[in-house]
């Protein structure tokens, strides 16, 4: 690594060669506004012109997100010329924007709004025509409003990086240019897997999760029996909505907040995760013993399931037939729980708090019901829960630490909580599979080989007289490699975990956004480290739990003995398992 000497605002600094001015300045303690560039040039269009600075050697002003530092360079961020240019850039962007900030779901976390304030953008500087808008709220997961799009291209890049063959692209030219799926169709009719990675990088409100807060309000107003359940990853990030450092677990305050929001029962999907492991680990062992379809692939991630149904329909028999944890738990709430409490399942309204936008469409799948009773009625993202709490007037950070409701499904294990991070389902399944095959617990609780953030990780574990080979992938670009191996008949694995979002649920499309400009107290490399910090919160909760294996959850044992009989029983299949069907990538009418 060689260093170069530069000056910023006349002060000397030594920075790494090859850095852009923007990255170098950040390391030196300056935050240059930018809308198109995203961390280390994941999207480097240099198109928004909001990061202009004066730099010696540059012809005119330099776009600091793409212009690299050089020996002896002098950078001026605060010169009158640079300041005026950045203001003009922002005013031009605003001239073709709907500037309806008060009603926008991104208000307060919008980078355009933030930068407009910083540069002192004036109203109505460039009046003229506006690009015709596409507004798409047809899909259950994501809303696209091109009147707020600044054509930065971040979503295009993220979709492509995460999933290989992206769904989003630029279309048309000049003033008619737009970003969207081919043919400008709805996400609902496109090959979009609803993961929401695009939402996590959008600088404005052009891409947002579809809110279901109204649905929850309506159910409450109707006097429904409200049951809420929170996914593992939620506790690792909800605090961010209230200014807490990234990676602060807020399990206790979250439970307290949900109870104060008027939910009759507050449960943890970690219980459902334990249940999933019981079903899934036993399904795997059945397949191994009976010569069933292998490798078996996890089915917890609805983004991944959407992808499989769209692009790998021939491999659907490889997917575990298990519903995802919150769907399983929803089905149990409306059967076992309802019976125990003498409730009519029709009067119960189950709300899942999820790190995920794809879960919103998963709960709407035709298969996700038992005898006409939907497993789950509404799915809120972490951000939506943050909004609900803020609306209620509660001071989240002053809430006491409380627990989940204890009865019937209040106990969960460390195995359940690590579902929220890539490799977690695999690790949880291995803990239980080992116990089933060997008749004793694995010496080390932790399976380190499946942890971490490499795109693909693999491990071989000796159990039951055989070497069980497993692999873990997150993001469809990585998963594709493992899937193509299966297609070609060269896959050496017995069991594969696939998560739709890179890094797993802790990086889901429903999680709080992570931006340098809104996190002045976090480290300068926070956009690189936030996933590991959120993961640590979950691993810590696993370590602190006295129960580390799903099969040791006493309430799971009770659920089987009193209700389900045994894993993969007829009753379990009725309530906890599902089916898949291939689908066309583009589901559009003749045009």
């Amino acid at each position: 690594m060689s260093l170069v000497n530069i000056k910023i605002e006349g002060r000397p600094y030594q920075v790494e060669e090859g850095l852009t001015i923007l990255e170098a300045a950040r390391q030196c303690g300056y935050e240059i506004p930018s809308l198109c560039s995203f961390n280390h040039g994941e999207c480097n269009q240099g198109s928004c012109r909001v990061c202009l600075v004066e730099a010696t050697g540059a012809r005119g002003l330099a776009a600091s997100c793409v212009y690299q530092v050089a020996e002896g360079m002098e950078v001026l961020i605060n010169s009158p010329k640079a300041v005026a240019a950045r203001r003009t850039s922002v005013e031009l962007l605003l001239s073709n924007h709907n500037v309806n900030c008060q009603q926008c779901g991104k208000s307060g976390q919008c980078e355009l709004q933030n930068v407009a304030r910083i540069v002192g953008a004036r109203e109505g500087m460039f009046k003229g025509a506006k690009t015709p808008t596409t507004y798409d709220d047809v899909s259950p997961s994501i809303v696209r409003d091109t009147s707020k799009c600044i054509l930065c291209g971040r979503c295009v890049e993220r979709c492509k990086n995460a999933h290989g063959n992206g769904v989003l692209g630029f279309q048309n030219r000049g003033f008619d240019a737009k970003v969207g799926p081919a043919m400008d169709i709805s996400f609902a009719d496109s090959p979009c897997i609803m993961c929401g990675q695009c939402v996590t990088v959008c600088p404005t409100g052009a891409l947002l999760p579809k809110s279901e807060i109204d649905k929850v309000d309506f159910a409450r107003a109707q006097g429904k029996y409200m049951v809420v359940q929170t996914a593992p990853a939620v506790r690792a990030a909800l605090g961010e909505e209230f200014g807490l450092p990234i990676g602060t677990p807020v399990t206790g305050k979250m439970a307290a907040a949900l109870r104060r929001l008027g939910f009759n029962r507050v449960y943890d999907v970690d219980f459902g995760a334990d249940l999933t492991i019981m079903e899934e680990a036993n399904e795997l062992l059945d397949r191994v013993k009976s010569g069933g379809v292998l490798p078996m692939i996890t089915s917890c991630s609805p983004g991944w399931v959407n992808y499989a149904e769209t692009y790998y329909a021939d491999l659907l028999p490889h997917l575990s037939s298990c519903k995802s944890p919150h769907q399983m738990q929803g089905a149990i709430i409306k059967s076992y729980f309802a019976q125990a409490h003498g409730l009519d399942p029709k009067d119960i309204f189950v709300v899942s708090i999820m790190p995920c936008t794809a879960k919103k469409s998963e709960k709407d799948r035709a298969q996700m019901e038992v005898d006409g009773i939907r497993d789950v009625d509404a799915v809120l993202t972490v951000c939506e829960l943050g909004d609900l709490i803020k609306r209620s007037g509660m001071q989240f950070n002053r809430l006491p630490e409380e627990g989940f409701d204890y009865d019937i499904m209040g106990t969960s294990t460390g195995a359940g909580v690590i579902f929220g991070v890539t490799g977690g389902v695999m690790e949880a399944a291995l803990r239980t599979a080992y116990r089933v095959l060997e008749g004793k617990e694995h010496d080390a609780v932790v399976f380190n080989a499946v942890r971490g953030f490499d795109g693909i990780r693999e491990a071989t574990i000796a159990m039951g007289g055989m070497d069980v080979k497993v692999a873990v992938a997150s993001g469809m670009a990585n998963a594709k490699i493992l899937l193509d191996q299966i297609r070609e008949g060269t896959s050496p694995y017995h069991f594969i975990e696939i998560m739709g979002c890179p890094g797993g649920c802790i990086n889901g499309g429903g999680m709080p956004i992570v931006r340098h400009c809104f996190l002045p107290n976090e480290d300068v490399d926070i956009v690189d480290t936030y996933r590991a910090k959120r993961a640590r919160a979950l691993y810590t909760e696993d370590e602190r739990n006295t129960l580390r294996q799903s099969h040791n959850n006493p309430q799971i044992i009770e659920l089987y003995s009193r209700f389900l009989e045994k894993p993969n029983s007829h009753k379990a299949h009725e309530l906890l398992h599902t089916t898949y069907a291939g689908r066309e990538p583009f589901r559009v009418q003749d045009h």
Partner: protein, 163 residues
């Protein structure tokens, strides 16, 4: 993709294969398809995507970027009205307006009988002939608004249809 015949799919795949060694074959592939089929609809883009590994979104972006490509079938005769600077100052707007009026379509549109498509073109490099119109590649120089009905009926008669 149900609406593409097996023969069409095979032909599109053949076109894609012809450019296998190229670094950036997309525009060439799409040009061949546009010339041969007259348009590049979604179903065709899906085949190209499968063959090239490029996303449909990216292919659609290219198709909608260049006015040469069309998502809907073009008419048998494509009337290209140049609206480049020289033609424009010589009254090209009135020429295209007259074509549109007489055929009852908008620029970019195609008549219901599939006979004519009107395209608004940027400079076609025939400035000396301004205002210029091209029909099926043939250039009509210094077109006057009064000639428009005659040009249209000449093509109609060529097709054997009565006025």
């Amino acid at each position: 993709m149900a609406r593409l015949s097996g023969a069409s799919v095979a032909r599109i795949e053949e076109i894609c294969d012809a450019y296998q060694g190229e670094k950036t074959p997309l525009v060439m592939i799409l040009s061949d398809i546009q010339r041969e089929f007259g348009y590049v609809p979604l179903e065709v883009q899906e085949v190209v995507s499968r063959k090239t590994g490029l996303s449909v979104a990216e292919i659609y972006g290219v198709v909608t970027f260049y006015s040469f490509f069309s998502l809907t079938p073009k008419g048998k005769h494509v009337i290209g009205c140049c609206l480049g600077t020289a033609c424009y100052v010589k009254g090209a707007q009135r020429i295209i307006d007259r074509f549109c009026n007489d055929l009852g379509i908008e620029p970019g549109g195609t008549t219901d009988d599939g006979m004519f498509t009107i395209d608004a073109l940027r400079c076609i490099g025939a400035c000396a002939a301004a205002p210029a119109v091209t029909i099926d590649g043939k250039v009509y120089a210094r077109v006057d608004i009064s000639q428009v009905p005659g040009i249209i009926s000449a093509y109609r008669q060529m097709e054997g249809g009565a006025e």
